[in-house]
Structures are given as structure tokens and as C-alpha cells.
């Protein structure tokens, strides 16, 4: 455990040092914020650094294995329904858990003059993510071409952009950020990688990625559609 933490320490220092360095440089030259704010920054950086250390250690020790176990068990049941259910449930649950999604749903509610309520909206956005996450897992199983799927998704995104009212466009393109949970990222990656490594003829590097990206597009499309319907 201590060895694990010590191994992560250089990575954490490398990750945060440039950010802190630029912040200090800006403080000295451009910003000159009150001393209290600067001390707060230093305390925050210390906390963030300690947190990142524990986070990386915990991800390696528990979170990645969690995803690997699930990803390896998924195809062994030979049940497509299970794979779809896991993809959908993970996309849905992790999106609903993201604090951003409620903020986003509230903004869509405002744009639609209250015709859509925030809570069901959050559910629609999360379903968009879930649906696309399930699609991404099915892609690994059936070997649909990744480039084609993304081409269709992005073309759809662009097409709907021209139909959607202006106020909802910025919201929709911002909605991609709802699928970025730091803890879910390694689990979803490990599930897809596990799934693609168990299924024959799938190369991990070509088929193990794309699920997070699909989830983001799902959220964006869901918000655009809501904007058009509003």
C-alpha cells in the first residue's frame, strides 16, 4: 500500500507542477490576487495533490480490477441482453450521478420556458448516454466499424444542429461533459477492454476504446432533440 503510494508520487507531482507553476507566475505578474486567495490556492493544490495520490493508488488497486472482472465475465454468459443491460445501466447511473447533469437539465428547462421539467430531462439525457454506451458494447461484440458509427453520430449531430433553436445548441455541445466521471472512466474503459480481449479476433487497441466518446455523443444528441421538440 505504501509502496503503491510512493510509486504514484512522481506522477502526481509531474501532473500538478505545471498548473501550479503557471498559477504562481500569473499571480506574480498579471493577477496579483489578494494574499488570502493565493493561500487558498496553495492549500487547495496540496489537498488536490494528496487526493490525486490516493485516487491513482485506489484506481490501480480496486477500480481497474473491478472493471476488468466485469468485462471478462460479460461475454462468458453469452447473453446479449446482459451486455446491453450493463452498458445501459452503467451509462444511465453514472450520468445521473454527475452533478453537471442536473445543472444542464435546469438550463434546458429555462430554455424551453419550463415546458420541460429538470428531473425528467436529466433522465432523458442519461438515457441518451446509456443507449449509446450499450451500442458501444454491442459494437465490440459484432465488430461494427467504429469509424462508420462515429461518422453517422457526428453527421446526425451536425444535421440536428441546423434544426435546433440557437439557445439549445450551446447547451447540447456542452453536454458532452456529463460523461466524464473520474471513477467511471477507468471502470468503463476496463469493461470495454475486458470485453474486447475475451472475444476472439478483437484487438484491444482497435476495439477497446470509444465507449466514453459514444456516451458523450449520446448526451449531446439527447439535448439537441429536446431543444427541437421544445
Amino acid at each position: 500500500m505504501l509502496a503503491l503510494l510512493r510509486r504514484q508520487l512522481p506522477e502526481v507531482l509531474r501532473a500538478l507542477a505545471p498548473l501550479l507553476g503557471i498559477a504562481v507566475l500569473l499571480q506574480l505578474t498579471l493577477v496579483q490576487a489578494p494574499a488570502r486567495l493565493f493561500v487558498q490556492l496553495l492549500i487547495g493544490a496540496l489537498l488536490a495533490g494528496a487526493g490525486m495520490l490516493l485516487l491513482f493508488a485506489g484506481v490501480e488497486m480496486g477500480i481497474l480490477p473491478m472493471g476488468r472482472f466485469i468485462g471478462a465475465a460479460l461475454p462468458s454468459k453469452r447473453s446479449l441482453r446482459l451486455i446491453v443491460a450493463v452498458g445501459f445501466a452503467m451509462g444511465l447511473a453514472t450520468t445521473l450521478a454527475e452533478p453537471d447533469v442536473l445543472v444542464l437539465a435546469h438550463q434546458v428547462e429555462l430554455v424551453s420556458d419550463g415546458r420541460f421539467r429538470a428531473a425528467p430531462l436529466a433522465l432523458v439525457i442519461a438515457s441518451g448516454v446509456g443507449g449509446f454506451a450499450a451500442l458501444a458494447l454491442l459494437r465490440v461484440v459484432f465488430g461494427f466499424p467504429l469509424r462508420l458509427l462515429f461518422a453517422v453520430a457526428y453527421a446526425l449531430l451536425l444535421g440536428l444542429t441546423f434544426l435546433a433553436p440557437t439557445e439549445s445548441i450551446a447547451l447540447a455541445y456542452d453536454a458532452g461533459s456529463v460523461t466524464t466521471g473520474v471513477l467511471t472512466t477507468p471502470v468503463l474503459l476496463a469493461i470495454t477492454l475486458g470485453l474486447s480481449s475475451v472475444i476472439a479476433r478483437r484487438s484491444a487497441i482497435e476495439d477497446g476504446f470509444g465507449l466514453l466518446g459514444f456516451g458523450s455523443v449520446g448526451a449531446m444528441l439527447a439535448v439537441l432533440l429536446l431543444g427541437i421538440l421544445a
Partner: protein, 245 residues
């Protein structure tokens, strides 16, 4: 920061971490009971790892909320007072790079790519490519705030370019690019960079909600272009080798 504000911050951060880790633990335990049947030692290890990661995420988010968010706003106010838009773009470029460099999920993705490709796509290459892409587009986003350009003028050509790059890029890089677009808008970018954007547009006397919005959209677009661009370069370099064999 007042005591009440700190308590409030502690509570909301703990709540969001709990919400993030709970679905994962529930899914894992369901799988353990139904299919996996791992030995108790293994389950204990996975769960303590999850606990450790949650504690880490809690501290990380707390640190970002206490330190980086308010300071980001101060940076934004100072940047908005700069005399020329190109200077704002320059600061945006710098901040975009170092923020993404510190984003935990971007590093996790880069490590996974390294591992899955057995080291043939190095983690540092992915990391630098994503950081450069975000840096460039945060620079553009600051210009957009300064000049008041509508977001669609940037995202529509941006995604058209993505469609153009899709067939040209090496296949493996397409999925990586899409995932990188998801992780680049992580907790640091979503709070710190967003605070800088809001601070800048407030300093310029604009409605921060209107012009600050869209920053995240451009950060999400950035890795799609830079990583697929990298994929195109890789494919280009491999082509002569293929024709020889």
C-alpha cells in the same frame, strides 16, 4: 472562506463522490454474487481500492473547489482586463495545456492506451496530443469570448473537420480520440477553466452565462481533432512500409 461555506463544500463534495462510486460498487457486487464468485480476499482488495479512490477523489475535488475555482475567477478577471485579444488567447493556450496536463482521467486514459497497445502508442504521446489540442482550442475560446463570435461558427466547422478526419485517421486512434474528448472535460477543466472563462466574460461586461457557455464544447472538440490528426500522421508514416511488403 467562512466556516459555513467550508461545511457546505465538504457536504456537497462528499455527496457527489458517494453518488459517483455507488453505482460502480453496486454493479460489482451484483456481478460478484451472480457470476464472479471471487475469493473474499480479492473482493476486499477491490472494495478497499474503491474506498481509497473515493477518498482521493473527495480530497481532489475539495482542493479544486477551495483553491482552483476562486483563483480561476481571479485569473479570468485579470485576463479580461488585458489590452489585446491575442494576449487573452495566449493565456488561454497556457492554461488549457497545464489544466489538461493535470486532469486525472486524461492520465488514466493515456495509461490504458499504452497498456492496450503494449507500449506501441506511448502514454506520453497521447497526453501531449490531448493537451496541445485543448490548449489550442481554449486559446480559440478566449478569442471567441473577446470577439463575441457565435459558438456555431466554431463547432460546426470543427465537427465537419472531424468527419473529414474520420476516414483519414488510423482506426485505433478514432476510439481513443472520442474517449479523450470525454475525459478532457474533467473536473479540473469543468471548474477551473470554466471559472477563468466566466471571469473573463464578466470582466468584459458580457453575460457570463452566454459567453462562458461553449467553452466546455470547444474543450470536448479539441482532442477529437488533435488525436485523429495524430492518427492521420501515424497512418501516413506507416504507408511506405506497407507498400514495401
Amino acid at each position: 472562506m467562512s466556516l459555513a461555506a467550508i461545511v457546505e463544500q465538504l457536504g456537497s463534495t462528499a455527496w457527489s463522490v458517494l453518488l459517483a462510486v455507488l453505482p460502480l460498487v453496486v454493479l460489482f457486487l451484483l456481478f460478484q454474487v451472480l457470476f464472479l464468485g471471487l475469493p473474499v480476499r480479492e473482493v476486499r482488495r477491490v472494495l478497499s481500492g474503491a474506498l481509497l479512490a473515493s477518498a482521493g477523489l473527495f480530497l481532489f475535488l475539495l482542493g479544486v473547489g477551495i483553491g482552483f475555482l476562486p483563483f480561476g475567477r481571479a485569473i479570468g478577471a485579470a485576463v479580461g482586463a488585458l489590452p489585446a485579444p491575442w494576449m487573452m488567447a495566449g493565456v488561454g493556450f497556457l492554461l488549457g495545456f497545464v489544466t489538461t496536463w493535470g486532469e486525472p482521467a486524461v492520465r488514466i486514459l493515456a495509461d490504458q492506451v499504452d497498456e492496450a497497445s503494449a507500449g506501441s502508442i506511448r502514454a506520453s504521446l497521447v497526453l501531449v496530443t490531448v493537451c496541445l489540442g485543448v490548449a489550442l482550442w481554449v486559446g480559440v475560446a478566449m478569442l471567441r469570448i473577446a470577439l463575441g463570435t457565435p459558438l456555431t461558427y466554431l463547432v460546426v466547422p470543427g465537427y465537419l473537420l472531424v468527419l473529414l478526419l474520420l476516414p483519414l485517421s488510423e482506426k485505433a486512434f478514432v476510439g481513443i480520440a472520442a474517449d479523450a474528448s470525454g475525459v478532457a472535460t474533467g473536473p479540473l477543466a469543468n471548474t477551473f477553466l470554466l471559472a477563468v472563462g466566466f471571469g473573463t466574460s464578466a470582466a468584459l461586461g458580457q453575460d457570463p452565462l452566454v459567453s462562458g457557455l461553449g467553452l466546455v464544447a470547444l474543450i470536448a472538440l479539441a482532442p477529437l481533432l488533435s488525436v485523429m490528426g495524430l492518427g492521420m500522421l501515424v497512418r501516413w508514416r506507416q504507408r511506405p512500409k506497407e507498400s514495401r511488403t
